[in-house]
Amino acid sequence: MQNHIKIREEDIYRFVFSPETLSKDKFDYLTANRERFKVEIALCLEITNTSNTEEIRSLTEAVLQKINSPNVIKLLPQISKPIEENGLKLAAASVLKEKKSNSMSFTDSESKYLVRIVKTDSQNLLYLFTEDKTKQKYIIKLFPSEVEYQITDISQPIEIIEEKVIDGIVLE
């Protein structure tokens, strides 16, 4: 490799967006070697050229919608309240207990959606229950693995690959 002047990623951004802040030797070098860095320079230019296009506006809109969407439903593991009698906690009906019985339930904060994962000897089945019958198709994302499944008919369970841990589910 020839003994070139040092050019870092940031220098190329400076060359394209704020050339006045780049040292003269780097500016001269990049000017003389535009061809060598054409992919990087083109990428920087594309960022400016596309930053106000219809495509980027619609992508921004989609990201904003996804962040604030009421259609994104977060479900957390359902933990049953322990039964208390005379101040003593009796059988703790907890997630742990549910795991032992090979099923786990997840609900949203308003308890409008319930996902139940049932593990049998041969299958892991995921059921989605909701009173909202207007929608049949959901994307189900399991956390922390971020594995996604699609359910197209909520009257039937879907088979899923066993996960070591599931600490949350997102429905879209």
């Binding site: 490799m1 990623e9 940031e10 704020s18 990428l43 594309e46």
Partner: protein, 298 residues
């Protein structure tokens, strides 16, 4: 979008079967930056607070954003490639082991992960483009992964005018393509001398395929969810999927695999009747392969 278009065309072609577009992928990659994490913080804010350079003009602002978004895209692509192709995951684990044990370092350049020699932590000249790896002679990739990487550093230094770094995903694809049926198997016990032996991919895939076929017969044919004809088609499709997984990866939608065996099947019917089952069986096949490959890590 600019990063995806310019830097991830090849990686993305291995994910087309998922039915994702560049737009979907960009949205999935960027959105988590703006959603509070478990500690209630916005990841984009965290990144800004831990950024050790000044942001005081257009260049530094674009640089910061491109770096953060580039990292997110790189993470998301690696995650999806691992999920889509257990062999890719196997080689990636082996290379990451070299990074974790400080035998090489990992850096990024315009959103692409590169391997860099031990003792260095930044790219200070033009690196090779990922496509360059494709054009290199196959003989450079037939060895233990650590030796391949070391030879590539030497090759880039002596034979090219590029900065000596290696694009990670392109390297993994090339190792897989050159070694085909026999991948190098890493022994996690060795930290000094790098011990590797060949792993027979054919037998891993064949055993995994048989496990999935057993399940298909027992749980789908046996329980009347699929008839004899449908089961036979699924078996053929699973063989084709396993062959593609071994070779270049799955590059078409599942409907495209089934259609030649069921000429009259419409896309709509496929999604209604078979998509969920085939999607599950493919995930199972990948999991069976991944488990067998992970066993060889031990």
């Amino acid at each position: 979008m600019a990063l995806l278009n310019k830097k991830y065309q090849t990686d993305f072609s291995n994910l087309l079967y998922l039915g994702l577009t560049f737009q979907d992928f960009a949205i999935d990659a960027v959105t988590p930056l703006f959603i509070q994490d478990k500690s209630g913080e916005l990841p984009i804010r965290k990144a800004l607070l831990s950024w050790d350079k000044e942001i005081n003009d257009e260049a530094s602002a674009y640089y910061f954003l491109s770096k953060i978004i580039g990292n997110r895209i790189e993470q998301e692509i690696a995650r999806k490639l691992k999920e889509a192709d257990p062999f890719f995951g196997k080689i990636l684990r082996s290379v990451n082991h070299l990074v974790e044990t400080n035998r090489i370092n990992k850096v990024s350049w315009f959103g692409v992960a590169y391997l860099i020699e031990k003792g260095q932590n930044e790219i200070t000249q033009k690196p090779i483009e990922p496509e360059f790896i494709e054009s290199l002679p196959a003989k450079l990739f037939i060895d233990a992964n650590e030796k391949i990487i070391s030879s590539l550093f030497s090759y880039i230094k002596t034979e090219t005018e590029f900065f000596p770094v290696i694009p990670l995903n392109a390297l993994i694809r090339k190792i897989k393509q050159v070694n085909g049926s026999f991948l190098q198997q890493r022994s996690s016990e060795s930290t000094e001398e790098h011990f590797e032996e060949e792993l027979n991919v054919e037998s891993v895939v064949s055993d995994s395929l048989n496990a999935v076929k057993d399940r298909l017969a027992k749980l789908y044919l046996g329980k009347g969810k699929l008839n004899d004809n449908e089961t036979e088609v699924f078996k053929k499709v699973l063989v084709e999927l396993s062959n593609d997984l071994k070779d270049g990866g799955i590059s078409r939608g599942l409907y495209e695999y089934v259609k030649p065996h069921m000429i009259d099947l419409s896309k709509e019917d496929f999604y209604k009747r078979y998509q969920q089952t085939l999607d599950y069986l493919l995930r199972l096949l990948k999991k069976e392969i991944a488990v067998r490959l992970e066993d060889t890590d031990r």
